[in-house]
Amino acid sequence: MMSWLLILLPLLGALVVIASPARLARHLALATSLLVLGVSIAAALVFTGWGNGAYGLTAALDWLPQAGIVIQVGADSVAFILVLLTTMLMPLAILGSYTAVQVRQKEYYGWLLALLSAMLGVFLARDLILFYVCFEFTLVPMFFIIAIWGGANRGKACVKFLIYTFTGSLITLAAFLMLAWSYADAHSGVWTFAIEPLTSHAAGLAASDQAWLLLALLIGFGVKVPLFPVHTWLPLAHTEAPTAGSVLLAGVLLKLGTYGLYRFALPMCPDAVVTWAPVIAILSIVGILYGALICWVQTDVKKLVAYSSVSHLGFCVLGLFALNPMGLEGSVLYMVNHGLSTGALFFLIGMMYERYHTRDMRQISGLARVMPVWATFMVFFVLASVGLPGLNGFVSEFLCLIAAFTAGDGGAYPGVLGPWFAAFAALGMILAAMYLLIMVGKIVFGPVQTPAHGHDDNDLPVDLSVREIVVLIPLAAGCIILGVQPGIIIDSTATSIADTLAVYPPIIEQASTHVGATLDAMVMGGAP
């Protein structure tokens, strides 16, 4: 019941927002999102999936049972953590838009709430139909948010965003349909779209079939993540989107990709994953280093943070495909942590942009003197992003790397990657410090310099207003709490992750010689 409430409440709110006067739109939207947050917290309290691998908050709705279409909802602990991340970010995104969005407010807030509904639908779906519908539906509100309230280059950005991700997910849809057909074929014509039976069916397919499935899933989810080399929609979309759009893109929409990989790719095609994990890991590592190096030469702060997502999400995927509990745990933590710290960075850049109407590092410097509160938050979230131990980013990055480092089938933690993977990925740590500190050095420190047209008269104070501080405080608190007590998430998701990985040790053991050969071939350039 609560799952339905979570999905439908924002939609209802969207309708209310559209129907009521424009001057109330933002307040109504905020109230709705807070209500959803409240429901999600209440749901978290009654959620039965914490600390065990089970699904909680489940419900089903027979829609077209003859065709196997039964809409099922529910979440395991990993999904529910992401639900909480989403419901927490949305009120902040709405509150953060209070002054930034001046035109067509009703539609704006309506779309945001519709987006919330779709995002929650993805995480709460237990069948492919609902999952796919919601997954695709996230594109629509985001398309309009970029297209109407975006920056100067918004036309190109929104079209590219839509077509790029839509094309990717069509291939995923094809794979889903094939999988369902294959299931029906094997079960004398009984169709289902529920995720669990399909997963166990897929895991039993031949390795070559699994490889096709993995490829199709990777194309869809890889674009979303984004994995190198299908990342180019992201810098454009992030840069052109309004602040709330960037925050939600970075905070939640990118996680749809990694969540998809976690939910479908890993359990559905274990044999193929073991074979191809090194290749995917190499793509992630290329993404980490490539994204980071490109960040270094950016002059647009927002673009810099956007490219840093390419780099950061590389760690997240690397952790997933390390195929051991440390890696998956690190990856799940990374999804949350990246949402907090990068989301906050986008907020901060938005706040700066609202005041100075530029994001060009060459035009602006020394803001610490002008906006000390803003500067404090900026430095704080940059440090969280760099992975300073004690803050959240460190724990996830550390776990992803140590997981990638672990190879072989010995001990309690098997792994399919190895030291070289981690060593190259770890170079990303140095590069992250370089580009983020250079950005801080330019815009926060140094002699004061602001654009000639100076402060705008949009009645914002010079430094942050109370509303803006209220937006940032929960994110900062999250960074500290998850940095010091990552156990909150680790303990609650442990069993889900262990269950997901349960199929892997025997496969890895069986394949270890093969993987080793593949690795050697890739590193040494010899024949496999």
Binding site: I163, P229, P372, L388, P389, L401, G411, A412, A423
Partner: protein, 713 residues
């Protein structure tokens, strides 16, 4: 107090670590105060900043809480029984829910090595914070709060580094001190040089941190743990080739070395430390001289068992040579600088080189003792330099200052600096004399590749050290009184309105701290003679109690090995006794040359430099020394410039090749196809329907084809 006890009470639910000979002290949660007090002070300083506090309150809060940390550390020392305790404070990264899982908690490993470090870290931290309360008073207000918040962060991180019971918490401290250093070097953040120096420090340190991170991963994969006590047990049992080949264990020392050389400013990663002098001087004294930069020595001493696993000690030989070469190189650069703070910075690099040499030649206690004495005398030197800088409006050029000891109010500064200089120069019977000799003598008697030459090189460097040290003192404190003010006119109390510059002498807080630390530098010689039945006194006793020297068969064997040689001879004498005479003599020569060139006949120094520069055969030498042997330039050409170009190329590739050609090009394909079938898209319903039917048919055909090919058969 309830809050404090709540904070310090252990929130730990993790299973205790089953190690036989290290007892678990759950009742020692109060030890956590060493961490929590600086953290509280950080929060309090933040509150002060928010309340727009313009008094010295942040300083008193910081000094008070650091003193509390020191007292707690004292209690720990008094309660200490070998071999040590693991004190669990808070659960942190814990994946032990799967058998043999990864675990790294916020727990302390209290043994003599960590106690030695935490005592001088918190003690000097308190004193220097007190000194800074006066030094920073021109910045009362938000800057003052920011400064003391930074000091608190530093002490928090440094305590975590030193007390950690596992490598991950050590890593937290390691990065934390790097961050605190970034914060404080960049304190004058409107100065571009300060921002650049801060950034450089953080990034160069990150290179070292990469080594540490990889070493931690390797420890995990090879030994199956990152906790010291378990690590020692595993190494002792020899049962550690769990997953990898031999290379993984062999690689750990080299990665640790990278980390240590970054943090402790050794070749080739020393370049950040001289630039770090952009920070306020108390910071230079505390972080960049006395405490943080010794973290590298601590790390290697802590992980000494891993270094000794290799029977040939190859890694240690490299440590010794890198240390020796860094000592020499930094000393030659220090000789040619005019900025007294930079001279002290290079001398720190040089002295850290000695400490690494000590580790390399198997005298961990010598290295630790030199860390200990150096912390005092170098702090004294920096604090006196700071007093000069403070009083003369930022003047640091030794050519523009002279005869300070004859001026009113500068006596304590001058003589505290003299004591520091004597110790640094290794003047007989000062603390630096004994600690340096412990290392020098071992260099001559330990077997290693060219260690004899290393010993002579270190001896030569000791002479250079005496020279450049007294070059500063003879120039600044001795000679006739004359001075020029610097150009740093912050505040209005320098009295410029009458057209004359009046230096303002240090007052109570600075004077008392300089006096205490200078006396401490002298007294630091005493532990060497505190009888504990071991050669080397109290310090050796402390170090020998820890994993750095005992408890592990391999280490004990190596220690015996070293002991054998220590009874060997140098020029036919006991090496330590011989070294007393030799190094004392070398020190005298250095001081005498300094006295000649910089006290009695200062014009000779100028003409000597001119003579060297005028001959093309010798001109390169002073130039290279003044330009710091071009190391920064080499870095730029070899690493930064290629990366920078590469990044631009990648950015171009990303925009043009990946995005425009591949992505947009692919996107154009449908349009080309569309042209071809354009008649179908002329907008009429009929055509649309045809197109749709055709599309569906195409999809069906594709699906059937795939099915036919048996993809999912």
């Amino acid at each position: 107090m309830s809050l404090l006890s709540m904070l310090s009470s252990s929130v730990l639910t993790a299973a205790p670590v089953p190690v036989a000979d290290v007892h678990q002290a759950f009742d020692m949660g109060w030890a956590g105060l060493i961490l929590w007090l600086p953290l509280l002070s950080l929060i309090a300083c933040g509150c002060c900043a928010m309340m727009r506090c313009t008094s010295k309150l942040p300083a008193w809060i910081t000094v008070g809480s650091l003193a509390g940390s020191f007292v707690t550390a004292m209690f720990l020392y008094l309660n200490y029984e070998p071999p040590g305790d693991v004190v669990n404070i808070v659960r942190w990264i814990d994946l032990s829910w799967v058998g043999g899982g990864f675990e790294a908690n916020i727990s302390f490993y209290i043994d003599s090595l960590s106690l030695l470090w935490i005592l001088f870290v918190t003690g000097l931290g308190t004193l220097i914070a007190f000194y800074a309360s006066e030094y920073m008073e021109t910045d009362l207000g938000s800057g003052y709060c920011r400064f003391f918040a930074g000091v608190s962060v530093f002490l928090f991180a440094m305590s975590a580094l030193v007390l950690a019971d596992n490598l991950v918490l050590l890593y937290l401290g390691w990065e934390g001190v790097g961050f605190a250093s970034y914060w404080l070097i960049g304190y004058y953040y409107t100065k571009p040089e300060a921002v650049a120096a801060a950034k450089k420090a953080f990034i160069v340190n990150r290179i070292g941190d990469l080594g540490l991170a990889l070493a931690v991963y390797l420890c995990w994969t090879s030994f199956g743990t990152v906790q010291y006590d378990e690590l020692v047990t595993v190494i002792e049992s020899g049962d550690y080739a769990r997953m990898t080949d031999d290379w993984s264990v062999a690689a750990i020392p080299w990665l640790l070395m990278l980390a240590a050389f970054g943090k402790s400013a050794q070749l080739p990663l020393y370049v950040w430390l001289p630039d770090a002098m952009e920070g306020p001087t108390p910071v230079s004294a505390l972080i960049h001289a006395a405490t943080m930069v010794t973290a590298g020595i601590y790390l290697l001493a802590r992980m000494y068992p891993v270094f000794l696993l290799d029977g040939d000690h190859t890694a240690l030989h490299v440590v010794a040579w890198v240390g020796g070469l860094t000592a020499l190189l930094a000393a030659t650069i220090g000789m040619a600088q005019y900025d007294i703070k930079r001279i002290m910075a290079y001398s720190t690099v040089s002295q850290l080189g000695y400490m690494f040499m000590g580790l390399g030649v198997l005298t961990t206690y010598g290295a630790a003792y030199h860390v200990f004495t150096h912390a005092f005398f170098k702090a004294a030197l920096f604090l006196t330099c700071g007093a000069v800088m403070h009083g003369f409006a930022g003047q640091l050029d030794l050519r523009k200052l002279s005869g300070l000891r004859h001026m009113k109010g500068w006596k304590i500064t001058s003589y505290a600096m003299l004591i520091g200089c004597l110790c640094l120069a290794g003047f007989p019977f000062t603390s630096g004399y004994f600690s340096k000799d412990a290392i020098l003598a071992e260099a001559f008697v330990t077997h290693g590749p060219g260690f004899q030459w290393l010993g002579f090189m270190a001896l030569f460097t000791a002479g250079l050290t005496a020279y450049y040290t007294f070059r500063v003192w003879f120039r600044v404190c001795a000679g006739p009184v004359s001075y020029e003010a610097g150009d740093d006119h912050h505040g209005d109390d320098h009295g410029h309105d009458d057209g004359h510059f009046h230096p303002h002498a240090p007052r109570f807080a600075m004077n008392s701290v300089m006096a205490i630390i200078a006396i401490g530098a002298l007294v630091a010689a005493v532990p060497y003679f505190m009888d504990s039945g071991v050669k080397g006194g109290w310090i050796a006793d402390m170090v020998n109690d820890s994993t750095a020297s005992e408890g592990i068969p391999a280490v004990r064997a190596a220690a015996d090995h070293a002991a054998d040689h220590a009874h060997g001879s140098l020029f036919g004498y006991d090496p330590h006794v011989a070294m007393y005479w030799v190094s004392g003599g070398v020190g005298f020569i250095g001081i005498a040359i300094a006295a000649w060139l910089h006290l009695f006949r200062r014009e000779d120094a100028v003409s000597l430099r001119r003579a060297l520069l005028s001959r093309s055969a010798t001109a390169w030498l002073p130039r290279a020394m003044e330009r710091k042997w071009y190391v920064d330039e080499i870095y730029h050409a070899l690493i930064r410039a290629p990366l920078w170009v590469g990044s631009h190329v990648l950015h171009g590739i990303d925009r043009i090749l990946v995005d425009m050609v591949l992505v947009d090009g692919t996107a154009k394909l449908p349009r080309l196809l569309g042209r071809w079938v354009q008649p179908l898209t002329n907008g009429t319903v009929h055509a649309s329907a045809t197109a749709m039917a055709g599309g569906v048919a195409l999809l069906v055909i594709v699906v059937l084809l795939i099915l036919h090919l048996g993809v999912f058969a």
